[in-house]
């Protein structure tokens, strides 16, 4: 069964682009949301395997905000992956932090998370 992901984005363009890249890579995208509160409701309802978050320097999308957002999720089964498009960085919650190579790399990270 293919891995299921939920995308939390800041830039709609990136959200759409990532959805296409993941779908091409065989990942099923269950939903997308730019507002964290609405995203939280959907994540709780949809139970994706992975939550993929866009992070950057903006307060709402900064790594500290990301950490606090993850902690607020009641279901800890899903893995959260954060991607910074600003500096091509990939953070896998409590596992890994490294440079992101390309879309194949991101798909592999989701598959193996």
């Amino acid at each position: 069964m293919s891995r299921q992901a939920f995308i939390v984005y800041q830039h709609p363009l990136f959200g759409d682009a990532i959805r296409l890249l993941l779908t091409r890579g065989g990942i099923r995208v269950l939903g997308m949301e730019s507002d964290w509160k609405r995203a939280q409701e959907q994540i709780e309802a949809l139970h994706p395997d992975v939550v993929l978050m866009e992070i950057n320097g903006d307060q709402e999308f900064s790594p500290p905000a990301w950490l606090s957002s993850i902690r607020s999720l009641p279901d800890s089964k899903q893995t959260t992956i954060a991607v910074s498009f600003h500096n091509n960085h990939l953070f896998i919650w409590q596992k890994e932090e490294r440079s992101l190579i390309d879309a194949v790399d991101l798909v592999e990270a989701i598959r193996s998370a």
Partner: protein, 219 residues
């Protein structure tokens, strides 16, 4: 149907790949190449002859603005559409001066990006709505400030206007008094009234005002 051939230049791999895939899904758009920096964008434009180059600004080797200049100098028929996170006027004007035909922010939706590609391909100029809004607001602000200045000038009496020009030309109170057949204290009163009506605080500001209004000319 002739497709719009596009080159996507962005140093962020995921963004470049994602945006390419997004554009490629449109029936009238074909992504003919990708570039990881400004130099590659120039080289690939000359090699692949895209109709539109989607250009990021902050890129290594040559930035997007310099790459745009080089592309327009070498291949003027290529339309450059800037895709950037920078919302400031400074970048926007620099991009247009460099020869870009459009300016899209990364906060745009994919539909807006596609519309922008089609607009610049057709020879038009595309401004992201938030940039256009900012420009209109700036224009209206400037226009309103000019109207205020005009209203203030209109509030001066003919005699005050004469005195204003003479002060701006560097004449002393005595000289003005002698030229207009007035007492120096009357000239001083006119001077104070002019400053108050025009909301100016010293002679330098008054000279600048006179130049801006075209009342005197720099030699």
């Amino acid at each position: 149907m002739a497709k719009i051939h596009i080159l996507v230049a962005d140093d962020h791999t995921i963004v470049r790949e994602g945006v390419s895939l997004l554009l490629q899904s449109e029936p009238d758009i074909e992504v003919v190449g990708e570039a990881r920096n400004g130099r590659e964008a120039v080289d690939k434009t000359l090699q692949l002859h895209p109709d539109v180059v989607l250009m990021d600004i902050a890129m290594p080797e040559i930035n997007g603005l310099d790459a745009t200049k080089r592309i327009k100098a070498a291949r003027s028929e290529a339309h450059v559409l800037v895709l950037t996170v920078h919302e400031s006027d400074e970048y926007f004007f620099q991009a247009l001066q460099a020869g870009a035909s459009g300016y899209v922010l990364k906060g745009a939706t994919s539909a807006e990006l596609v519309a922008a590609v089609r607009a610049v391909y057709s020879g038009g100029i595309y401004l992201h709505p938030s940039v256009a809004e900012k420009l209109v607001a700036d224009y209206l602000k400037r226009d309103s400030s000019q109207t205020n200045q005009h209203d203030r000038y209109a509030s001066l009496t003919p005699r005050e206007r004469e005195v204003l020009i003479l002060i701006a030309e560097g004449a002393t109170n005595q000289k003005i008094a002698s030229k207009l057949v007035l007492s120096t204290s009357t000239v001083q009163t006119h001077r104070a009234n002019i400053m108050e009506k025009l909301n100016l605080h010293n002679r330098a500001e008054l000279i600048k005002y006179a130049i801006r209004q075209g009342l005197i000319q720099l030699e």
